[in-house]
């Protein structure tokens, strides 16, 4: 129960932090997402730091989430590792994963606080995200 509370509260934290999102003047945050480290961090060219969550195994494959923090604010979320074993996975992920980021960015301009939609987020995403947030001490 406590584990569920922790990751749900961290989703709240993430939502709160994401909505104080400021576009970094240096443009997009980093191009070296190919580097996959477990719970590690890398510096980006625009001064932010990217924290990687652990690689989590799910029924459909591995998932890893990274969070980029600049000046104490989350400025980017990326999913460098996601299930892509079969065609259906690729179809779903090509559609769902970019949307998870875009949904956040569009929410800013629509003057809304949060979005209600049909469940999509895999357990692996949340678990890896929690690890990334822990690594960033958020």
């Amino acid at each position: 129960m406590r584990r569920i509370t922790l990751w749900l509260l961290s989703t709240v934290t993430l939502v709160v932090l994401l909505f104080s999102y400021r576009t970094s003047t240096g443009g997009s945050v980093q191009t070296d997402t190919a580097q996959v480290t477990t719970g590690g961090q890398t510096s980006t060219s625009s001064g932010g730091t990217t924290y990687s969550g652990s690689v989590v195994s799910t029924r459909w494959g591995d998932v890893q989430v990274t969070v980029t923090v600049t000046d104490g604010k989350i400025t980017d979320v990326a999913v460098p590792v996601y299930p892509s074993e079969n065609h259906k996975d690729q179809e779903i992920n090509a559609y769902a994963l970019p949307v998870l980021r875009q949904e956040t960015l569009d929410a800013q301009s629509a003057d809304i606080d949060t979005v209600s939609g049909a469940t999509v987020t895999s357990d692996g995403y949340i678990e890896s995200l929690q690890a990334a947030l822990d690594a960033a001490h958020l």
Binding site: M1, I92, T114, S116, G117, A118, V120
Partner: protein, 185 residues
């Protein structure tokens, strides 16, 4: 705790005239029938977790658990603005609702393929793309939304009769329909 979930699911099955039914739902990967209470437990678990937030005095909060929303606003703060995802284009919003306290749950087949199943035919329910239910309880909102998505367009009349809950339905055609008490755009 599992016994509690089963009891709640039974109650849900009766309240939804059989349209919420966790028994014998096909596994999305293998197609084999299994007991799947996920249409109830997600809202139930989020609601239990939110008790910790509800205990905070004078604090406004918003909990989003994979698209299921719970909010609370103290008197001196503005209401939360909750976007409802367009099931055809999740990057876009079909409606915005303002809510001070309560839950907003959405069920549908927009993501992860079709996972809403008609419990009577055991086949995917496709006529309704998404249902959003707003009301006091996230667990019941989740249950009603799931049942309505499985039931199809006929669900509107049933949803209209639910005390304290208002709903928005997005049909496959893109047509939006809402219960009588749903806030005007």
């Amino acid at each position: 705790m599992f016994a509690l979930v089963i009891t709640l699911c039974e109650q849900a099955r009766r309240r939804t005239e059989g349209w919420f039914d966790p028994r014998g739902l096909p596994d999305p990967r293998t197609g084999r029938p299994r007991y799947d209470p996920s249409g109830l437990v997600k809202g139930w678990a989020a609601e239990r977790a939110a008790r910790h937030l509800a205990a905070l005095e004078g604090i406004g909060w918003c909990l989003n658990a994979g698209g299921d929303i719970l909010v609370h606003t103290p008197d001196d703060q503005p209401a939360w603005r909750i976007g409802i995802e367009n099931p055809d284009d999740p990057a876009r919003i079909v409606r915005v609702v303002e809510n001070r306290t309560g839950a907003v749950a959405t069920s549908g087949s927009a993501h992860r393929g079709t996972h809403i199943v008609d419990p009577h035919t055991r086949r995917p329910a496709i006529r309704t793309e998404a249902v959003t239910v707003a009301g006091p309880s996230l667990m019941w909102g989740d249950v009603y939304a799931t049942a309505a998505a499985a039931r199809g367009p006929d669900a509107l009349q049933w949803l209209d009769g639910l005390d304290g809950y208002e709903s928005l339905l997005v049909a496959r055609s893109g047509l939006l329909r809402a219960t009588t008490g749903w806030p005007a755009a």
